[in-house]
Subunit: 497 residues, 2 copies
């Protein structure tokens, strides 16, 4: 490694440390911090972010990168340079004043969102959403990535993703989901599906969740599982990756699928190449690819018939009274219940995409000025009715359900659906490439799948773009047909269509 | 507040945030971090420390301070300026190279200390202690505080404390402790003292510890209690103060007195003036004053007869089988057992000071070159025999028992004994100033004491020096007679001397 690159690496390492510090402050805040610590913690996080920005835009870094530009670099070194330049360019073109304005506005907007949701009254949040949108519009104008405002914002979460591609993909997916949902709703199987009943003790839920996580290959020496109101995964390095879940007394499945989902994210973070740590390539490619890992484990594995051949007897053992008389078939139907509901986070695999498409259409229209904030609840409810056949009873379970917009996250929602699509395309390959994958899963052996993902996805970090990686693994770019065909096969079988 | 001071405050606030980040990284490492995270965490902490140093010595801060120098400032503002100048001067006069050398050497020395202690072989640690000492000597020479090398190092932990004062105080205390110890050892009461027996469940220990901590006025909304191998207290702001303890199955008193001790530290941190947060005066005055708070609660309150009038029935309730037949008098003797032992951390109130005096004499001789490292174990054991009447069986329970020197903490030990002296002098005043203090304590009402400490000590932060504060509260500077007389009265009574 040449000396200039070594100096560059030293700087990127400090940046990685500062980023990790910010994440540690957040994790602690969500899981451990006493309530009164909030105000000081907000300032500590702001200070960490300000120093990060200062170091990222420092001329020492810029000068080093200029010199490296003309040098003979290995391809992974060049990728590091590209990534850092990309991040620095974004930081430089958005004025400091706007960054601070956005942070402050988002902090207040979040509080008003909490209040508005509590009172189920969108009008309390509306002016703040308006402010957020006008600042995000300004930010999008500063970013010199494309002519599309929306695409400029999406790029932050899904680098390289085009607005036109999103439109094409979602337009293809939309009618298929609608049709499948209609067919499922008309199926006589629907009325036979059992819902879990009883009381599921938290310690037993924890124990079972930890067993599944261990089987997935989660490294407990390099990670933790805790509780928090909103489940999440965060990684401070491949050697320290933490997930959280929340336990509901009346339903084990919320915590369990939460653990498997966050566990999928965690395997990605733990699987990043540790020798790359501190370099810009030692990160997940994109939020869509990250979500592909959580969704693959949660849905393609965790809601799969074979998986429960091994785990159902163990689950019954953990909750003998509550699940005694449920058959394997009944259980599989129960964890795959399809049902239109107003709430995204608990949506099934079929309706989930429709929730995302609604958000994609609305946030784009809001950003572009094609939709006024005050008309948002009406538009939301109309789309819910037309796409999912239901109307939210109020703003709280409708337009106010998600935290994202209050945080200024515009262009983020599409990555959730992209994750499902990537997951299906990757799993299609995994089945072809891993000998006896289904048999292994049925025998409780999840390691071949984890190893395949580690080698083909996790270890790469950002050495490839999302497009390059998916082509390398599957031979083609992102193709929604894998997801559509996966859903069709799975649910036609389950619902006897 | 003038504008220049506001700009100054903004910088000190960032410094406080960075310091807090370092503390959060440490707390997490001790209590939560998975084992494999250690290497990355060390680097994150080094990065935080380096940025702190950079910001502390930045010319923007220096320039602001120069301008403030000639301005008309309130006395607390002037104190802020003095404190920051003091810290900056230290940071500037010790060369970066030396700081890094010390950090690296200490990291390695610590590992060799662990190994040497494990194998009970001082020779494995000796060369590293030698290196530490020569670097600390160099550091002491850089510091321009006095002509005494040792005093320069002590100043870091106990600002303003003179070597001559330490010598005078410890010389006064030493013979009194020796004499009292001899008299106690000769007392027939000694052989009657009961030791606790049985198994004390951790949840019951936790519950009781939390009850005591609540009664002390620990604010759970602004703090936590966790477990770690070595108990400690750390504060990220007055609104977020965390303590730890460790639970021994066979003896409830280790965890309990640990909780009361760390609780005393925590009340200090929670009691700092929150409107001063982010300023250099929003910190404990010195380690000695900090230790006075923990010792006051642990010994003057927690091992006091009145205290247990309220708490013993409750303790018996928590452990009915194990403590059923012990009387109040027997219990008080048991938690005040005086006994020469080779180990400092579990030492009683009488012998504790002798342990410190040994370390004070030896570390000073080592630093000044009056004692060679290779002769340290012999000197240690001789002093143990002459001051405490016992010889450690091996290096592990002798010269290698403490972590401090391996970390480069030279001049730190005296603050432990100073804490005991300050505690006695403060408590003497508290008894005079708080109406019915003893009665309140006997009734379980600890709040009047906490309020008195809050008003007279905690709230002040660094607005006064240790000397100024102790004069203000007690009318005189630190006077060891309070401690000696407290010990004499207490133990003459207990041991029927």
């Amino acid at each position: 490694m040449n000396k200039t690159f070594q100096s560059f690496r030293k700087l990127t390492q400090s940046l990685a440390d500062l980023k990790a510090m910010g994440s540690i402050l957040s994790w602690d805040q969500e899981t451990m911090m006493p309530s009164k610590g909030a105000a000081t913690r907000a300032r500590q996080r702001a200070t960490a972010a300000a120093i990060y920005h200062e170091k990222l835009t420092d001329s020492t870094l810029t000068d080093l990168m200029k010199r490296l530009e003309d040098m003979d670099l290995a391809s992974w070194e060049r990728r590091c340079l590209q990534e850092m330049r990309r991040e620095q360019a974004k930081a430089l073109c958005v004025p400091r004043r706007l960054v601070e304005d956005l942070a402050e506005t988002a902090a207040t907007a979040y509080e008003f969102w909490v209040k508005a949701r509590h009172e189920s009254d969108f009008s309390k949040f509306a002016p703040w959403l308006g402010k957020i949108l006008s600042l995000k519009r300004e930010e999008a104008q500063c970013l010199n990535i494309s002519e599309s405002l929306y695409e400029n914002l999406v790029d932050e979460y899904e680098p390289g993703m085009k607005e036109s591609a999103l439109e094409r993909i979602f337009n293809r997916v939309h009618p298929h989901l609608t049709l499948l949902l209609e067919r499922i709703m008309a199926s006589p199987v629907q009325s036979r599906i059992r819902r879990f009943k009883g009381s599921f003790s938290t310690p037993a839920q924890k124990g079972f969740g930890r067993d599944v996580l261990s089987a997935m290959g989660f490294d407990w020496g390099a990670g933790r599982l805790d509780q928090s109101p909103h489940p999440f995964c965060t990684g401070f390095s491949p050697q320290d990756v933490r997930i959280t879940t929340r336990y509901l007394q009346e339903d084990f499945s919320a915590a369990l699928f939460g653990i498997i989902h966050e566990g999928g994210h965690a395997l990605y973070e733990q699987g990043l190449n540790p020798t790359h740590h501190g370099l810009p390539i030692c990160e997940a490619i994109s939020l869509g690819i990250h979500e592909s890992q959580s969704r693959l484990w949660e849905n393609q594995v965790g809601r799969n018939r074979a998986f429960w051949s091994f785990w159902l007897p163990r689950l019954k053992n953990a909750f003998p009274g509550q699940l005694e008389d449920i058959s394997h078939d009944e259980f599989i139907l129960s964890v795959n219940l399809v049902e239109s509901s107003p709430v995204r986070v608990t949506a099934d695999e079929v309706t989930y995409g429709l929730h995302i498409i609604i958000r994609f259409e609305l946030e784009r229209a809001l950003l572009n000025g094609d939709l006024e904030v005050k008309s948002l609840p009406t538009e939301w409810n109309q789309r819910m009715e037309s796409y999912l056949g239901i109307r939210p009873r109020n703003d709280a379970e409708g337009v106010l359900q998600d935290i994202h917009w209050s945080h200024g996250l515009i262009g983020y929602f599409p990555t959730y659906l992209l994750g499902n699509l990537y997951a299906a395309q990757l799993m299609d390959q995994a089945v072809k490439k891993i000998p006896d994958l289904e048999k292994n899963i049925a025998a409780g052996n999840l390691m071949p799948l984890r190893e395949w993902l580690r080698t083909n996805v996790h270890m790469l970090g950002k050495t490839l773009t999302a497009d390059e990686m998916i082509v390398k693994i599957t031979g083609e770019t992102l193709n929604p047909e894998f997801f559509l065909s996966y859903l069709k096969t799975k649910f036609e079988d389950l619902y006897e269509l």
